[in-house]
Amino acid sequence: MKHVAAVEGQSETRVRMPTRRALAKQQTRAKVLAAARELFSTEGYEGATIRDIAAAAGMSTGAVFANFADKSELFREIMTTDLAAVVEAMTEAASRGRTVDDALLKIFSAGYGFYKSQMPLARAALGLSWSWQDGQALRALASIQEIIDLFGEQLALGVERGELSQECEIKLRSQMLFDNYLANYPQAIFGGWSLEALQARSRDQIRVILAGARRG
């Protein structure tokens, strides 16, 4: 901690002080988020209470509320972080696609691969997505639109490369790809499907959705 002491001795101490407080606050938030992630995964969204989350994080409920307005904000924050990582993985995967089918399948697989080890959290998110208020809030996350746009970009590339017809309805097709991507989660959650089984089903779905666009 020698380095910190040296910095404090300098003239910009006044500027640095709030940063340190911000850092402490950030650590508190990270602790709460880690505890919340764990509880949402074991108890589900409804079952995890702020009181339990606070206890698991080793702090008071007041301290939790000082950082997050309510449980739904906590959940949204976790989803925001995860989905940003999902979008990054999907974007990277798509760039390795050789054909439009291949790129789309790689996008699906990147998503399933990310959630494979945390299906209970995906289950909590899917359940919540059907509720009126919280569902809308989840839907409004920027990453959701980014995933749909990613499908659209690959479709547009497919048109450019001549794999799909010019009249390819990109908007409608992107949305349907996203629906199909989501629709396979229940198989993984309740049916225990492997990544390979999910990929096989996704490959068929992509083929059905693209079939009409391959004709002139």
Binding site: E46, S131, L172, M176, A183, P186, Q205, V208
Partner: protein
């Protein structure tokens, strides 16, 4: 049926009616078993002699409604005419029209399928075997009539349509979409899939 059974059946009926109305108007999560009992005019304990939990009440309410829907479906499907796409649109439209009579109840049922709470016997959403079967029959009949490519696996088409169908309920949940908008959307989606499944001209 002896007197005790008759009484139990009457209680069950009143609880189901009260719960159906409360789930729709107040919401599933927001409704307590106590409130259901009070609306039904029975004791809380009587509710639990018929049902193990609130989730089971929801599940029974939904089962009864599904029986009504399937009755409607059975009456309508023999009279469907036109292309496979038209027939598919009609079957889905019937579902949208039926479910949006009680949208909140339907959404509660979907959400409950993901719930951690024990006692729910609801089928995970999108795996409703009756609808799936009806849609599959429609596609297979299309293959027999010749407007669906016989070389295609009907289940592949059914999977894709069922996923699109689910999206339209999200429109109801998030944007208050009514049955007309949901059906119109579904029709576009079916048309898109149909352009891919129609037989390739020689």
């Amino acid at each position: 049926m002896n007197l005790r059974q008759t009484q139990k059946e009457a209680t069950r009926r009143r609880v189901l009616d009260a719960a159906r109305d409360l789930f729709e108007t107040v919401g599933y999560e927001e409704t307590t078993v106590r409130e259901i009992a009070s609306q039904a005019g029975v004791a809380v304990g009587s509710v639990f002699t018929c049902f193990s939990s609130k989730a089971e009440v929801l599940s029974q309410v939904m089962q009864e409604r599904l029986d009504d829907l399937y009755g409607e479906l059975d009456r309508v499907t023999p009279h469907l005419r036109g292309s496979t796409a038209d027939r598919l649109s009609s079957i889905f439209a019937l579902h949208f029209a039926f479910e949006t009579r009680r949208t909140q109840l339907f959404l509660a049922h979907i959400a409950a399928a993901y719930s951690w709470r024990p006692g729910g016997s609801s089928v995970p959403y999108g795996r409703n075997p009756r609808l799936r079967g009806t849609i599959r029959d429609c596609v297979v009949e299309g293959q027999e009539r010749g407007d669906v490519d016989p070389a295609l696996d009907p289940d592949m088409i059914v999977d894709t349509l069922m996923a699109a169908y689910a999206w339209n309920y999200r429109l109801a949940a998030w944007e208050n979409a009514g049955p007309e908008r949901m059906s119109a959307n579904m029709e576009q989606q079916i048309a898109l899939v149909a352009r891919g499944f129609s037989p390739v001209p020689n």
